[in-house]
């Protein structure tokens, strides 16, 4: 047992990341259900404002810092060495340090619940001066700042590890232009983390210094500037959302290609668009600040519109992969198609709010949070499910049941859209975000009620998933052990070894002559057709 707790193996660490995110997903999910219960009718008092404000703060913080991003790091930890044919990551002990620091950061943030005054309640963005005015009381906010700093340090170590491993530890023949697309997306993510997370650490340090050491960075009475915090935070915050989506673009690319039984269309375009998105995303941060009145709206609006182009390239390539393919509608493929549907809505509404004339109305409203729930919930979270269904056989030797998987998908997909489509209309009608109640005005009451029903349907989907895991685990005990490639038709090197792989990953590697070495090994008749 202690061996497992102190193992430096990338597979154990990856699973530890993913299991921890599952725990925080459950907590953050329950918090969101409390929110939807409170908002199902206007003027309710199921939870009062003080509790509610902590709840939405913790929900957002947990989903971003403790679920979506770290699940991708865990998945990357597990897959990247396998996909490039390496025995482990470049810095295994740093890896172990990172996962523990990440777990500690999560508990630190939530420990605020037990502090006097409760947990942090300034939103996941913790704008100054709201987050600095409670200095002396409110250990919850301090624990939040510290937890975020620890999380940032852990994330930076993960990024260092990914970058070094991918750049330096590829197996013989695995040139960078033969790497699987998931690995490329992780490399782009790693560079983005290294550029962006220091800004977060500085923002948190300045908050702590302002709260406890008499600093006045954000205090206009002493020459400080409140907007400085927003610049620091969003210079991190915008790349962060791309950190949270690029690995999942990689997951979708892998799943769509394998289950269309065709190579990924436009592989080079996918790689270049990943870096175009990453680069552009560093230059758009103040599109979160259009309504402050003090930023260069034109620059940020223009740059934000440009990100739509490489994202479009990815969409054309995913469609091109499916085009004239032979689509196997397995559960991972269903979740991938759900991603394509949901993320499209998120992306299109993102282009809308990139326009200040539109943003002036819907900034900080339900329209805005609908946009990012569609990209993160409808996008990244669906990709999380696709990844779990696709790679669980490899990680645990358990193939999840397809019927339960389809029930999981449909409940979740329908529930998701019923929950979040009303939000666009609620926002346009004038409902702001981060409110514990709203007036019984116009369409808001019934739109909110419908949304809350949708949240219930999504919960049934999650329950179906948990039942599937339990059922399949039991079933795996009585069925045959899985082959190396249980889906049949795998492309990348992880499908060339057992389910699960041995500690050192590979007894032998197939020759690596393209970005699909396992496919090439299984289809030698196509060798002459490759250039």
């Amino acid at each position: 047992m202690t061996h497992w707790l102190t193992s430096t193996n990338h597979k154990s660490i990856g699973i530890l990341y993913m299991m921890t995110t599952l725990l925080f997903f459950g907590i953050a999910g329950i918090l969101s259900l409390v929110i939807r219960l409170q908002l199902a009718r206007p003027d309710q008092n199921i939870v009062g404002p003080h509790a509610y404000n902590q709840i939405f703060t913790l929900h957002g913080t947990a989903m971003i810092f403790l679920v979506i991003a770290p699940f991708a790091f865990g998945l990357g930890n597990y897959l990247v060495p396998l996909q490039i044919g390496a025995p482990d990551m470049a810095y295994p002990r740093l890896n172990l340090f990172g996962v523990y620091l990440f777990m500690i950061s999560g508990f630190t943030i939530f420990a605020g619940v037990f502090a006097q005054g409760g947990a942090a309640a300034s939103g996941w963005t913790a704008y100054a001066p709201l987050s600095t005015i409670q200095a002396g009381t409110g250990a919850g906010q301090d624990l939040w700042c510290i937890g975020i700093m620890l999380n940032a340090i852990a994330t930076i170590t993960v990024a260092i590890n990914f970058a070094a491993t991918i750049l330096l530890y590829r197996a013989p023949g695995m040139t960078m232009w033969r790497m699987p697309i998931f690995t490329w997306e992780i490399l782009a993510t790693a560079l983005l983390i290294l550029m962006a997370f220091p800004s977060l650490s500085v923002a948190m340090a300045e908050l702590l210094l302002s709260r406890h050491y008499g600093a006045h960075f954000f205090d206009p009475q002493y020459g400080g500037n409140v907007v400085l915090y927003q610049h620091l935070f969003w210079f991190f915050g915008h790349p962060e959302v791309y950190v949270m989506i690029l690995p999942y673009f990689g997951v979708i690319s892998e799943v769509v290609a394998v289950f269309s039984q065709k190579p990924l269309y436009g592989y080079v375009g996918m790689v270049l668009s990943a870096f175009a998105i990453a680069g552009l995303s560093m230059g758009v941060w103040a599109h979160h600040m259009f309504t402050t009145g003090v930023v260069a709206n034109g620059f940020f609006s223009g740059m934000s519109f440009l990100i739509a182009i490489p994202t479009g390239v990815k969409y054309w390539n995913w469609i091109g992969t499916m085009w004239r393919g032979r689509l196997r509608l397995t559960t991972p493929m269903l979740f991938a198609i759900g991603f394509l549907s949901n993320f499209l809505i998120g992306g299109i509404t993102g282009v809308m709010v990139a326009s200040p004339p539109i943003d002036y109305h819907v900034e900080d409203s339900y329209f805005l949070i609908a946009h990012f729930h569609y990209t993160l919930g409808g996008g990244a979270l669906f990709a999380v499910f696709a990844a779990v269904y696709f790679w669980m056989p490899k990680m645990f030797g358990i193939k999840l049941n397809e019927l339960l998987g389809k029930i999981n998908f449909w409940l979740f997909f329908i529930g998701f859209n019923v929950t979040f489509i009303p939000w666009f209309f609620m926002g346009i009608e004038g409902m702001p975000r981060r409110v514990f109640t709203y007036p019984a005005m116009g369409d808001l009451p019934w739109l909110n009620a419908v949304s809350s029903v949708g949240a219930g349907i999504m919960t049934l989907g999650v329950i179906a998933f948990l039942l599937n895991v339990a059922f399949s685990k039991l079933e795996s005990k009585v069925r045959e052990p899985l082959a190396n490639d249980p889906w049949g038709g795998g492309f990348s090197l992880e499908w060339a070894t057992s389910c699960p792989p041995p500690e050192f990953n590979f007894h032998a590697l197939p020759p690596i002559r393209s970005e699909r070495p396992v496919w090439d090994m299984m289809h030698p008749e196509l060798a002459e057709l490759r250039s």
Partner: protein
């Protein structure tokens, strides 16, 4: 959308253009996705593997150029309309100094002894003249708030230490809703105000009475 000011009509135009573009793009992409799923779903009678193509340079270039043209067009509309809306016009009919604080608003009509206060239980009412340009100077006493009037399709942040300025010309009489749109703590949800747009004559009479008479 029910735009109730000149600026809101300009902004609503941007909404309709973007909304149209959004529906067009969505229909196109959904169409391709659904067609692929229906047409190329694996059937029991399938044998062998499908054609393993990966490139079509002319389609790929089209896929970059056409979105780029659309995006440039949308940016142009954005830039022009935003310039019109943000531009602070001279000679307002009345200037209102708005101070946001936790958790209500104070409206001070510049040059007149009219001050409107409120609190979370009894929100203040901002009275505005129909068809005349009102300039707002926006301040905050404590944290970042945001001044949002949905019927005007417009909000602006109230930053402590940084004043914001904008103008509005209402085009409809009536009672409209106003609220804070930047999370500011415990009673953020209750930090609302009313906007009452009245004909100019009624407005002048209300101002002359020091804000006491019913507008």
């Amino acid at each position: 959308m029910h735009p109730a000011s000149v600026q809101a009509q300009d902004l609503a135009g941007v909404w309709y253009i973007f909304g149209g573009a959004a529906l067009f793009v969505a229909a196109f992409v959904y169409g391709l996705i659904l067609y692929s799923i229906v047409r190329w779903r694996e059937r029991a009678t399938d044998t062998g593997i499908p054609p393993q193509f990966t490139r079509n340079p002319s389609i790929e270039i089209t896929g970059v150029v056409i979105p780029l043209i659309i995006v440039i067009g949308l940016f142009y509309i954005t830039y022009v309309r935003e310039g019109v809306v943000d531009f602070l016009k001279p000679n307002p009919y009345v200037t209102v100094n708005v101070t946001a604080y936790r958790w209500s608003w104070q409206f001070r009509y510049a040059g007149h002894p009219v001050v409107v206060n409120g609190n979370v239980h009894s929100p203040p009412t901002l009275v505005l003249p129909l068809g005349k340009m009102t300039q707002f100077n926006l301040y905050s006493d404590d944290v970042v708030h945001a001044f949002w009037i949905p019927s005007f399709l417009f909000k602006r942040d109230a930053n402590p230490g940084i004043a914001n300025h904008f103008d509005v010309t209402p085009t409809q009489t009536g009672l409209f809703h106003g609220l804070c749109a930047e999370y500011c703590g415990l009673d953020h949800a209750l930090m609302t105000f009313n906007v009452e747009v009245v004909p100019v004559g009624d407005f002048d009479r209300w101002m002359a009475s020091g804000g006491q008479a019913n507008p």
